[in-house]
């Protein structure tokens, strides 16, 4: 039995759930435009944006494709593409 007493469970086990499967659109970052301001990372409800050396990177394992990042990007460095399944 991997469960604890009384309906109690361990922390952070949601991380194995691939919510990226829900996506209809995927955000695409133009690294040449990205100014690494971190706004997309702050506003992503699913913590999918990581600011790397050369710009924002989308974690498609979790990204549900809400596109708040695209809408809120101050330099319009993010566009959307239809998710091919």
């Amino acid at each position: 039995m991997d469960l604890l007493l009384g309906g109690v469970c361990k922390a952070g086990e949601s991380k194995r759930l691939e919510t990226g499967k829900w996506r209809s659109f995927r955000p695409v970052v133009d690294r040449n435009r990205c100014i690494k301001c971190g706004k997309c990372a702050d506003l992503c409800p699913d913590s999918c944006m990581e600011i790397k050396e050369d710009g924002a990177e989308v974690n498609l394992y979790y990204c549900k494709g809400c596109l708040i990042c695209m809408r809120e990007c101050p330099v319009k460095a993010i566009t959307k593409e239809v998710e091919e399944k």
Binding site: L3, L4, L5, G6, G7, V8, C9, K10, A11
Partner: protein, 397 residues
């Protein structure tokens, strides 16, 4: 061990025991007839005799929720209520039991509205019988004291971890005075030990409490409560025995019996009524009538096997109820009958409604019950339907 005997109010006896068990958190919301317990505890805390977090709540719902949160944080927690207050706590106590939080709660039994009343009966705690919480019904102020001393050990046992209700009849036990032997706080504290939770809300090991479950595990969590209550049976027996060995008092474990060995009629009851029956049985025995008594001490876990064993070959069992499941009858009687299903010995089991809504139950009433029960062999005698003691039939004309 030698204690100090004094004339104490029942509520004070409870407060004395609770103080010595040193709960970390006490939450209170007043309702008659539970108030004296929390007033005593409030004075103990404000005078520094008890170092508990004492939290006033805005309702019984919140009082139960406060001890719920405290217990989840790893604290020993205590509250008390009665009647409507227990009904308001109902939802919380279900969750508390399933979350395996060993809160101790004094339930001062009082009837349920409407009409609104402060008279005692067992309808309030019966509404909590399916929550998963344990229920111990006491018959005297002394037993109220003893049972509270034992309560935390039972509830907090790692194999049990369930809320525990100590049920005592309002007024008869909460507001009356009788000699109670109280033991030194240090001895009681040592007996009660401290709460060592198997898990708790702790940033060093973050856990999620109150998670969402689906059909894959929900039934398993309910079944876990069945197992825990079975464990509680063993624990109640061992704790009451240990208490007897140290303090010399024994009020029964799951049940207690009186003159059952050769009895032809056995009365089964819970709460303060048991003391009355005990006295009536002694008088009837003096008259040569073979009457006995089984006190059901733990309504949950329900001591079905123990009752059957204690009944032996007695042909007649009369069950006295202070609670009603409308359209089926007395709740204790129903459970006793269910326990006997499939048993090789099948006594006649007669249900009596006695004391519902505070209706008088004295020795005369008990003897009347014995007389009615002994006529069950007659053609006109009772067979199956509940006999309502003291019911005013004129009321319905």
């Amino acid at each position: 061990m030698k204690g100090k005997t004094a004339i104490l109010e029942g509520s004070r006896a409870v407060a004395e025991a609770v103080r010595a068990c040193r709960p970390d958190v006490i939450s209170v919301y007043p309702i008659t007839p539970q108030t004296h317990i929390l007033e005593d505890l409030a004075r103990f805390v404000s005078s520094g005799r008890l170092k508990s977090q004492f939290v006033r709540a805005d309702s019984e719902f919140s009082a139960a929720s406060i001890v719920y949160g405290a217990s989840a944080a790893g604290a020993r927690a205590y509250t008390a209520s009665a009647s409507q207050g227990l009904l308001l706590m109902n939802e919380v106590i279900y969750a508390m039991a399933s979350t395996r939080l060993p809160v101790v709660l004094t339930a001062v039994n009082r009837a349920i509205s409407a009409p609104i009343t402060i008279q005692p009966d067992h309808q309030d705690t019966m509404s909590l019988r399916d929550t998963g919480a344990l229920q111990i019904h006491v018959e005297s102020m002394q037993e109220a004291y003893d049972a509270h001393v034992q309560s935390f050990r039972i509830a907090e046992d790692p194999e049990v971890l369930l809320p525990l209700l100590i049920c005592m009849d309002g007024w008869v036990l909460s507001h009356s005075y009788e000699p109670v032997t109280v033991f030194p706080d240090e001895a009681i504290s040592e007996f009660a030990g401290t709460f060592h939770p198997v898990q708790k809300l702790d940033p060093a090991n973050p856990l999620t409490y109150g998670s969402y479950a689906d059909q894959d595990v929900l039934m398993e969590y309910r079944y876990a409560l069945m197992l825990a209550q079975e464990k509680a049976k063993e624990k109640i027996c061992s704790v009451t025995k240990e208490y007897k060995d140290i303090f010399g008092h024994f009020d029964g474990d799951l049940i207690d019996t009186h003159c059952t060995e050769d009895a032809e009629i056995i009365l089964v009851a819970m709460g303060s009524m048991v003391s009355t029956i005990r006295a009536a049985v002694d008088e009837l025995r003096a008259e040569g009538r073979k009457v006995g008594l089984i006190k059901v001490r733990t309504f949950r876990p329900f001591p079905g096997e123990e009752i059957i064993k204690a009944c032996g070959k007695a042909p007649l069992i009369a069950v006295l109820d202070k609670s009603l499941s409308v359209n089926t009858g007395g709740i204790l009687a129903t459970e006793v009958k269910a326990s006997f299903y499939g048993n090789p010995v099948q006594p006649v089991i007669l249900p009596f409604m006695a004391g519902l809504g505070g209706k008088e139950v004295n020795r005369r009433v008990i003897k009347e019950i014995v007389d009615i029960a002994s006529r069950s062999g007659d053609k006109q005698g009772p067979r199956k339907d509940t006999v309502w003691m003291g019911l005013d039939h004129g009321f319905f004309n």
